[in-house]
């Protein structure tokens, strides 16, 4: 469920990517730094989490799975 929501957000921000399979969203510059700014703002609104700047690293944004794992972890940490 969370993954589907994340894909929806990503498709709204940057429609030209296959989010189901892509594992290199940042490494291959599919998401730019400006896209990441939008994504963080949307994730915080949607999932009621605060994403601190230390989490803004490529490994947390390279795939939908990685994004979901980060959001879940931040939700647990409360």
């Amino acid at each position: 469920m969370m993954k589907e929501q994340i894909i929806e957000i990503l498709e709204d921000i940057q429609p030209e990517a296959d989010y189901e399979t892509c594992q290199t969203l940042i490494d291959d510059h599919i998401l730019t730094s400006l896209d990441v700014l939008s994504l963080v703002a949307e994730l915080e609104d949607e999932f009621d989490v605060t994403i601190p700047t230390v989490e803004i690293i490529p490994s947390n944004f390279n795939s939908v799975d990685a994004i979901a794992a980060m959001v879940e972890r931040l939700q647990e940490e409360g």
Binding site: I13, S33, L34, L37, S38, V40, A41, E42, E44, T53
Partner: protein
Amino acid sequence: MKSYVAPLYLLVFLPAVVFLYNIVPKKLRPVVLLLASYLFFWSISGKLILFLLISTFSIHHFGLWLSSLQEERNRILAETERPERKAVKAEYIRRQRWVIFLAVCIHIGTLLVLKYTAFFGQNLNSLLALAGVDWTWKIPKMVMPIGISFYTMQAMSYILDVYRETLKPDKNIGRLALYMAFFPSMMEGPICRYNDDAVSLWEGRRSSVQNLVFGAERILYGVMKKMVIADRLNIMIKTLYSGYADYDGGMMVVAAIAYTCQLYMEFSGTMDVVIGSAELFGIVLPENFKRPFFSKSISEFWTRWHITLGTWFRDYIFYPISMSKPMKRLTSKARKKIGNHFGPLIAGSIALFVVWLFNGLWHGAGWHYICFGMYHFVLIASANAVEPYTKKFLEKLHIRREEGGYKCFRIVRTALLVCIGELIFRADSLRIAMRMLKKMFTDFTFRSFTDGTLLNLGMDKHDFLIVAVSVLIVLVISIANERGICIRQKLAEKKVVVRWAVVYGLILFCIIFGAYGMNYTPVDPIYAGF
């Protein structure tokens, strides 16, 4: 020892420290490095070493203070029910922010006072005169400990990482002191990070034969860049920038290109000496340059030039601003109103503006440095803004960005834009920079290239030939590096005769073609002044 290519440093100090480091027991090796670093600092800045010592003690204390607050918070959190945890966390974030505020006031405050008082005073006096006030502030003369900009940034990254809890504060003040003062990187960087470098600095590993050979080769390559190219260009650059009024626009183009070349050779050459020096002790410092003149855009250029400064600004200024709560709200709202592209551009550009304002000011207290920063801000922000249109335009023309001719065009265009920026950077004032640029665009002729003016600037045909051959050598090595070939590794695989022939060849090249002696003035370590 005013530069890393001074004979006293290369032939006496560095070999003596390497020798001493390797003969003492492992436990004492980091102590040797620390004492050598303080001796190095003392030899340049004398009693101003007190600033470095106070800075080290202070940042060590702030780190432990933050850590004790974090431990206290964790203890309370363990005994608190989930709904109340948020309030506890908020309270401790508030307390920690006060500690950070105090640390920033002391460390950045000291840097601001020492580095910018004169600039502030001059502008204040000009404003007062403009307003007709009959009073001027007698600007006090400030002292300037060597490397203060660099060690302050390292101290800030340390304390901010402790605050973000990506780093455990170090109880060992010796290790922290060596991280702050390590002599090869003290004067011109690279700006190290505690997590990456402090442990290996304090480890005290014995130098291997490969460390010594690779380190010496890297130092030699750096010396070549500095002595043969940067120093040889110095007379011509000084003549052009001080007497710009006597030359036409063609010579202004020469001034811009020659200074960019000099700055790159001086700074990257010094970095080769610095990183090579650390390698002699088996220590790997972060790279500060990654063939910047192969960049296809200005933003890419700044990921390849003075890399550790760029990443520092990214991690401690760009992201904290663009990811702050008000900016996130702004991004969210703006995206809904003006779309996916322009929405985040506003917050991104505000953060970028602050980064480039600080970047300009970090390089020096002067309006031309601020203008240098703003120039890059405008170039990067406008490229971000027009990106979708550029993409569509190229698609219509069936041009692929990463292919042949267009890629070359982008590389040359980026290099030329960089040269213009460096002219603003080098000019003695903003007014002079503007005059030089005006000449470049309104008074451009090839006359000076043919009427002998070019050969009357302190460099004759032989000088130009030596510079051209040396730049060609650097270019060939850079192309190999860009393709992932490590020249030193390749050399190590050759027969011993070939290896020594290359090393001796490079030494002789520096001795024969290096610009030193009575008729030359070596360029001062440019970044040591920042």
